[in-house]
Symmetry: C2
Subunit: 222 residues, 2 copies
């Protein structure tokens, strides 16, 4: 039974990778940077997106795709920022895939967007397996989740271009070993960029905004 599932999964992944490549080619031609944000439920993806919009909305034309199993709670929060937002409900599905994103791209006002942020479904496992066509994969880990997560969920940390360690304001109350966490992440993914932030207090956020802006500018000018 386990092997059967795996075989189906591989076929799906192969087809998904091809579709993701098509999406990425289309985005590159259209001058759009797409950023895929992934994390466990409640790590702070929506909060990160809201603060990033607020900080960069005068510098980029931002759009957001919200992925959720159910509800439009996050999309409603983001739409208050008066930017284009599209909700994808997966109806139980545990990740977004490249086909969903292809459909979403066809339903967004892309002429008004050059920075497209995707909030993936809250899940530390499956979203890492499904490329969407994004140029940057961002992984958000919040302190309360614990420093052992890279060893337990290695693919997510291996695939990420950027890891944000969020909720650092809770550090005094938790036993999170930041050095051991960073060592484990770098062991899986030596070139990964790491930021330590608190979306709540704003600590460390300026570095993230500057980095994202630099990525955005270098790609627009190329």
């Amino acid at each position: 039974m386990a092997i059967k599932v795996l075989t189906i999964q591989e076929d799906i992944l192969g087809a998904n990778d091809e579709k993701a490549k098509e999406n990425e080619d289309f985005l590159n031609k259209s001058g759009i940077l797409m950023v895929n944000i992934m994390s466990s439920p409640g790590a702070g993806k929506t909060s990160l997106i809201l603060h990033t919009i607020e900080n960069l909305k005068d510098k980029a034309r931002i759009g957001v795709i919200e992925g959720d199993v159910a509800s439009t709670i996050d999309a409603e929060k983001v739409s208050e920022q008066s930017i284009p937002v599209l909700q994808i409900n997966t109806a139980g599905g545990c990740h977004l895939d490249a086909y969903m994103i292809e459909k979403a791209l066809k339903n967004m006002p892309l002429d008004d967007i050059n920075l497209l942020i995707i909030e993936n479904v809250g899940n530390l496992i499956c979203p890492a397996e499904f490329a969407l066509g994004e140029q940057i994969k961002v992984m958000l880990l919040s302190l309360p989740e614990g420093h052992d997560k890279p060893l337990k969920y290695p693919l997510m940390f291996t695939e990420a271009d950027v890891v944000l360690i969020n909720k650092v304001d809770l550090a005094p109350l938790l036993d999170f070993d930041t050095d051991s966490f960073i060592k484990a992440v770098k062991g899986l993914n030596p070139d990964v960029k790491i930021f330590q932030v608190s979306c709540k207090t704003g600590e460390g956020m300026e570095d993230w905004y500057s980095w994202l802006e630099s990525q955005f500018k270098s790609r627009l000018s190329s």
Copy 2:
């Protein structure tokens, strides 16, 4: 593409449900209570299990099945308690299923066990879809994850027999609305049992131990 995946999924779920029923019949005949603990990564499943073992090990013959994508970190912690522990590594898979549990049951010293605790893979979505044959489903939500989770991940909260709200010691630092959380859970699942606990400080844990012991005793005597 989405429809194709769904069809495959349904076949898998149907077969899994049959296997789960077989597992449950076997456990009932063997006088074993199996408890399936599910949550997001880092909500505190291992900590809950360690404290539960410590409190109930003189009252029950406990065994543990540890489900993880990779690593044996949790199994190593649990095995320090000198009870039978079996590690299932799913090699990337995002949930345990009834076939894995059937295999695990064949590889555990069941004559020495009457309370079998399963730590599922850390994931708020897929484990809720896959029955294992457990008589009790426990769902653990930690305060930092936020009170909006029942609306965003409804199946998990609908399927649970028990919801434990963990990390209540962090309440003063967070904006977690307990009333709104409980209302949302009861809206999906009116008969669910809810406990508010902190595995760290011990707050509320006695009620959980007593309840689990009562479940265990009533099933043993029936």
